[in-house]
């Protein structure tokens, strides 16, 4: 049985006039230890897709249909209590912006230890002890001394490491990373990508990695899915998608990348991409 199997997931939001279909009939499955990258431009529905699995899309107003079986439990229809047993313990999530996703009023060590206190009922001392070990594991230098710091005393890359430590501390079976490196520099991005890969291999964890950048995702994931207007238009092994994209939209996304063009030459923008945001 797959670790996660999503069938016909649809998410719609009512608008003043009509509805917005953010995710349309998306189906995919994820094995234990598999790495899946979901790529798409802003507004393609990739974040809504995974947030709805985590119960982070409030309904109402949203309407969600379909099934999402995680180890046999349907995340979309199970009771809140059952979802809380899974969320934060067996499925963890990292968000894009390390500046806003940490609690500014909580010392770093207490934030990293919180999942252990809630899910494992550990005593403060023991939880703290493990939190420091987790901070060391994600490469925070001098973790024991810095553990008592506040989030604002950390740089962006370091805060993202704290987020990862917090997500990993319950040894989840699935990690969902929603644009974890978009706010970071190239060199820090490289460090965070390598870190996620190492942790994934060591612990045999499955990863869903969301990004708008195909090249970044292809570095971390074995499989790629491409989303557009709420539809999953392509899904396959990264090695194949990057070299022989099956859908014209994927090809178009790759083609307009500056790396493919000699310097100074105008970028070819395939007609598939000219619909949104083009000259009005």
């Amino acid at each position: 049985m797959s670790l996660l199997s999503v069938e016909n997931l649809s998410v719609t939001f009512p608008l003043r006039e009509g509805i917005c279909q953010a995710v349309r009939e998306v189906s995919f499955s994820l094995e234990r230890g598999e790495t899946l990258g979901i790529v798409g431009e802003s507004g393609s529905g990739k974040s809504v897709c995974v947030s709805s699995l985590m119960g982070l899309v409030p309904r109402p107003p949203a309407e969600i249909s379909g099934r999402a079986l995680f180890d046999g439990v349907d995340l979309l229809s199970c009771r809140p209590k059952a979802l809380r047993q899974i969320r934060g313990r067996r499925i963890a999530m990292i968000f894009q912006d390390p500046m806003t996703s940490l609690n500014p009023y909580m010392r770093v060590v207490d934030q990293v230890a919180e999942p252990l206190r809630l899910h494992r009922r550990l005593r403060p001392r023991e939880a703290r002890h493990q939190a420091i070990a987790a901070l060391e594991a994600v490469g925070i230098p001098d973790a024991a001394r810095r553990a008592g710091s506040w989030p604002h005393e950390f740089s962006g890359g370091m805060r993202q490491r704290v987020m990862i430590a917090m997500a990993m501390i319950t040894q989840p079976e699935l990690l969902i990373a929603d644009e974890p490196t978009t706010a970071l520099d190239v060199t820090v991005q490289r460090q965070i990508l390598d870190l996620i890969r190492t942790l994934q291999r060591e612990r045999g964890m499955a990863v869903i990695f969301i990004s708008h950048d195909l090249a970044v995702v292809a570095d971390v994931c074995r499989n790629l899915a491409v989303m557009r207007d709420g539809l999953m238009v392509e899904h396959g092994p990264a090695s194949r998608v990057m070299t022989h994209p099956g859908h014209p939209y994927t090809r178009a996304l790759l083609e307009c990348h500056p790396a493919l063009h000699p310097p100074g030459e105008k970028l070819r923008i395939p007609p598939e991409l000219m619909v949104a945001g083009g000259p009005a």
């Binding site: 090249a215 990057m242 996304l253 307009c256 790396a259 105008k266 970028l267």
Partner: protein, 265 residues
């Protein structure tokens, strides 16, 4: 020989805060940009790229010499005139446009403030810049919130170019945009370069983008220039260890594709 359009010599910016030791954000940087060329300035956050550009614009006190067309400039004396000749395009088109101005007001303001042009002439110039930047007449009456990110960046570029500046600083102008929109904005900047002979300081941390737009590249680390030279040389045969590290950090696909599309040396 004609002097370079912009010349910076030994620029220093130091921040002092209370009793703490002063922070030297820019430590003796010298560089020049020839007329009609684009210099790509790269480095990670905190290395001083933005501070350098703000010092050049006179927004921060600095030491050193800044010369435009061979003449040393002083923001204190020549401020008003200089602000017309040097313009800036910001990273975030959601924050850099006045939300209570229509596109028309946004474009009229610099022409009135700097040139006191009569209304008819202003409209004429605005029409010209709309055509150049690919904006429609219908967009004039709209407010920034009615546009997508890419369209807003187009408006920001139109606003920067409406005064026909000699020199433009673009601070991460495409890093907030999707790849397809990024491609459109890069093409637009390319067009401006050929049609208006624009000279540009292009700040970015995306080496694939810099390689595409820049003629020369300068790499900054901790307030100092560690390497500079022709774009192809710096990005394909980097000499400094830090530049090599920056290049190695690029995603594998981007790295292999850009070396494949490089012209033969």
């Amino acid at each position: 020989m004609t002097p370079p359009l912009l010349e910076i010599q030994e620029l220093r910016v130091t921040f002092r805060q209370g009793r703490r030791p002063p922070v030297e954000a820019v430590r003796g940087v010298s560089l020049e940009i020839a007329a009609g060329k684009t210099l790509g300035l790269v480095g990670e956050s905190g290395c001083g790229k933005t501070t350098l550009s703000r010092a050049v614009l006179g927004l921060l006190p600095c030491q050193g010499r800044i010369a435009l067309r061979g003449e040393e400039i002083s923001w204190r004396k020549g401020g008003q005139e200089l602000r017309r000749r040097v313009q800036l395009i910001f990273q975030d088109p959601y924050a850099s446009l006045n939300p209570r101005f229509t596109v028309e007001q946004t474009l009229h303001e610099p022409l009135w403030v700097h040139l006191r042009l009569p209304r008819a002439q202003r409209s004429e110039q605005i029409q010209r810049i709309l055509d150049l930047t690919g904006l429609s007449r219908a967009s004039l009456g709209k407010y920034p919130h009615e546009f997508s990110g890419g369209q807003r960046q187009r408006i920001a570029i139109a606003r920067a170019l409406v005064l026909e500046p000699e020199f433009v600083i673009a601070d991460e102008p495409v890093s907030a945009l999707d790849v397809s929109i990024q491609a459109q904005i890069l093409n637009l900047l390319q067009d401006m370069k050929t049609e208006l002979g624009l000279t540009m300081l292009f700040i970015s941390h995306d080496l694939a983008v810099v390689r595409h737009v820049a003629d020369t590249v300068a790499v900054m680390q901790q307030g100092q220039l560690v390497e500079s030279g022709p774009a192809e040389q710096v990005l394909h045969a980097p000499r400094h260890a830090y530049t090599q590290r920056l290049l190695a950090a690029m995603p594998r696909w981007t790295r292999t594709q850009s070396s494949a599309s490089a012209p033969p040396a």
